[in-house]
């Protein structure tokens, strides 16, 4: 038997190895990130606190209570939020790139980011909201308007048979509409409202806590049904006719993936603000490492997205302590060079 006989098995082993490495990096990254912050906490204390909280084994009784509070109630929920949000955005981007057959698509292509921003702006500037008050009004608004944007986009595209082109173009139109509305609200906003709004639009994880983490973690549940469409997403990238001839219904698959991906994105964005770049780049990085087959690359996207957002948020916290940078800026600063490096190093084209 020659090497090519086992080509598929070889490739499978490599992919599982890469996925395992990415997977191991997540707990390592988490612990390192727990260590980083304005308050200096000895690394041994970080480990003691985590071991005590997770396993109930108390190694050192002298760890100050405020250290425990900082690690367990402030840093950890924020880190977990970064992991979940990164994972969700990357999965949504990965699924949409396949379903819309376009590698430049991100979770925000269908107008979600600008619609969510408009919802937030309504609450911040005019105090108009669907429910709740303060931060919760912003979240409810952002979620409601991003789902509204998707409904409009899908509704328009339905008239054109849900083709990928019509979805993308309708999405971009909706995005411009909501952007214009946001600009309008920015124009009439007071200075302090404007500052709050701009900060929200940049994306931010500093408001994370255990309660909000619980809501945002629900988005991971929505990722599971998307993953089940891996084969259909593979086949959709070959064009609608070929998809039909292989027994995959392009319209239905596209609709389901678009709706699920949008739901994931809205659930995340309404809590964190639109954190750009992860959803666009993480799927490409995963494909460069693991190949295009969605059964593997989707898992890779999830892990890469988590790690990328975790790293970005850690840098955002650490770089200019005690000042925090907006995480959306750091994702670009970190992601762009990494992405260009992979792009130049890779022999093959990312897409055609």
């Amino acid at each position: 038997m020659s090497l090519t006989d086992h080509y598929d098995i070889l490739q499978r082993k490599w992919r599982i190895l890469f996925i395992s490495i990415l997977f191991i990096l997540i707990p390592i990254g988490t612990v390192l990130s727990l260590y980083v912050g304005t308050v200096r906490i000895p690394f041994s204390d970080v480990l003691d606190i985590m071991i005590y909280k997770l396993f109930g084994v108390c190694i050192n009784n002298d760890v100050p209570a405020e250290f425990t509070a900082i690690i367990w109630d402030i840093r950890l929920p924020r880190i977990l939020t970064a992991l979940v949000a990164g994972a969700g955005l990357a999965i949504a981007g990965s699924a949409l790139q396949g379903a819309l057959r376009n590698p430049l698509v991100s979770p925000f292509t269908l107008g979600i980011s600008s619609a969510a921003s408009f919802g937030a702006a309504l609450a911040i500037v005019l105090g108009i909201g669907l429910t709740g008050y303060g931060v919760y009004m912003i979240m409810a608004n952002a979620f409601a308007f991003s789902m509204l944007a998707v409904l409009i986009t899908v509704g328009i595209s339905r008239l054109k048979g849900l083709s990928s082109e019509s979805l993308i173009l309708a999405g971009i139109a909706v995005m411009y509409l909501f952007s214009a509305l946001v600009t309008l609200l920015e124009y009439i906003a007071q200075v302090w409202e404007l500052k709050a709004l701009v900060y929200w639009i940049m994306g931010d994880l500093s408001l994370s806590n255990w309660v909000r983490l619980r809501y945002i973690a629900l988005s991971i549940l929505v990722c599971i049904p998307i993953y089940k469409y891996s084969w259909d997403l593979n086949i959709l990238t070959l064009g609608d006719e070929t998809a039909k001839s292989l027994g995959t219904n392009p319209g239905t698959t596209r609709l389901i993936c678009v709706v699920l991906a949008s739901l994931i994105t809205s659930m995340i964005v309404c809590m964190t603000g639109p954190i750009g770049f992860i959803g666009l780049v993480a799927p490409h990085m995963a494909r460069l490492l693991l190949g295009s087959d969605y059964r593997y690359s989707m898992v890779g996207s999830l892990l890469v997205g988590s790690l990328l957002l975790l790293a970005s948020d850690t840098i955002a916290r650490a770089l200019l302590t005690p000042i925090e940078l907006p995480v959306g800026v750091v994702t670009a600063f970190l992601g762009v060079p990494l992405f260009i490096h992979l792009l130049l190093r890779s022999r093959r084209e990312i897409w055609r």
Binding site: T4, D5, Y7, D8, Q11, Q97, G98, R101, N102, P103, W231, N234, I235, T237, L238, G239, E241, T242, K244, S245, L246, G247, T248, N249, R287, G291, S292, D293, R295, R348, E349, I350, W351, R352
Partner: protein, 256 residues
């Protein structure tokens, strides 16, 4: 083993334009049937109606007496292999992955050992096993076309539909691909329907020819019966000489 493929008075409208007009045919297994006709005559439309990529406005396509449009898409994909006119691809897949997608109508999630063996068998048959690990987008036009044909074959189809399978290929690859299709047609008793533009290749490789003109069947039968100067003049509007010796070939005289 072979299935009966019948087209019964199929009419297709695109918006208000009539692309096919009351077409009825019975296809034969173990034979290559070629659809000929000028651009817009309805070749591709007819081909797409056969495996329900396109639903006829009127009439029906029957497979062993059952309407194709009533079958589940997964079951249609187990009967029909389809090679489209142009192959679009978005992401870089390897040749193995590309061909393995042809097993989709049979699998839920995992490729079994049996599926993988089938993929390699077809790669051998088409003569591209050494390309298994290469990326599809790095291949030449001829190699790409072989991959797409391999993907259609790995579906274990009873009927193979090909839309201009040789349109972008050089002379050697044209002959290679058509020779391969001919061999498979005989060996597997496939029902093959293909749309073509090259009259000479169609003459050489087809068992039966359907000549289409503005959505209607103008003539039907063996190549030497259908490809006459009179028919070609009437359908394509071109004066030609048809020579039978030593090989059949068609030479245009002058466009009228």
């Amino acid at each position: 083993m072979a299935v009966k493929l019948i087209v019964e008075s199929v009419t297709v409208y695109y918006e208000s334009i009539k692309a096919l007009d009351n077409v009825s045919i019975r296809f034969e297994s173990g034979r290559i049937t070629t659809l000929l006709g000028p651009n817009g005559a309805g070749k591709t439309t007819l081909l797409k109606c056969l495996n329900n990529i396109l639903k006829p406005t009127k009439g029906a396509v029957l497979i062993d007496g059952v309407e194709v449009s009533k079958l589940k898409s997964r079951n249609i994909a187990r009967i029909f292999g389809y090679v489209p006119q142009t192959t679009t691809y978005t992401l870089p897949y390897t040749v193995f992955e590309m061909v393995a997608m042809g097993r989709r109508p049979y699998i839920r999630w995992r490729l079994t050992r049996d599926d993988i063996n089938k993929v390699y068998k077809v790669l051998d048959l088409v003569g591209i096993r050494d390309l298994a690990g290469r990326y599809f987008n790095e291949l030449s036009g001829g190699e790409k076309q072989k991959v797409v044909i391999a993907r259609a074959l790995v579906q274990d189809p009873k009927i193979l539909l090909l839309d201009e399978p040789t349109s972008n290929l050089d002379l050697k690859h044209q002959l290679e691909i058509l020779g391969l299709i001919k061999r498979l047609t005989r060996e597997r008793n496939l029902t093959v329907v293909m749309a073509m533009h090259d009259l000479n290749l169609a003459y050489r490789f087809s068992d039966l020819i359907i000549l289409l003109k503005s959505g209607r069947i103008y003539d039907y039968g063996s190549p030497n019966k259908v490809l006459t100067p009179e028919n070609i003049k009437a359908v394509y509007g071109v004066d030609v000489d048809v020579f039978e010796n030593p090989y059949p070939h068609i030479v245009p005289k002058e466009v009228t």
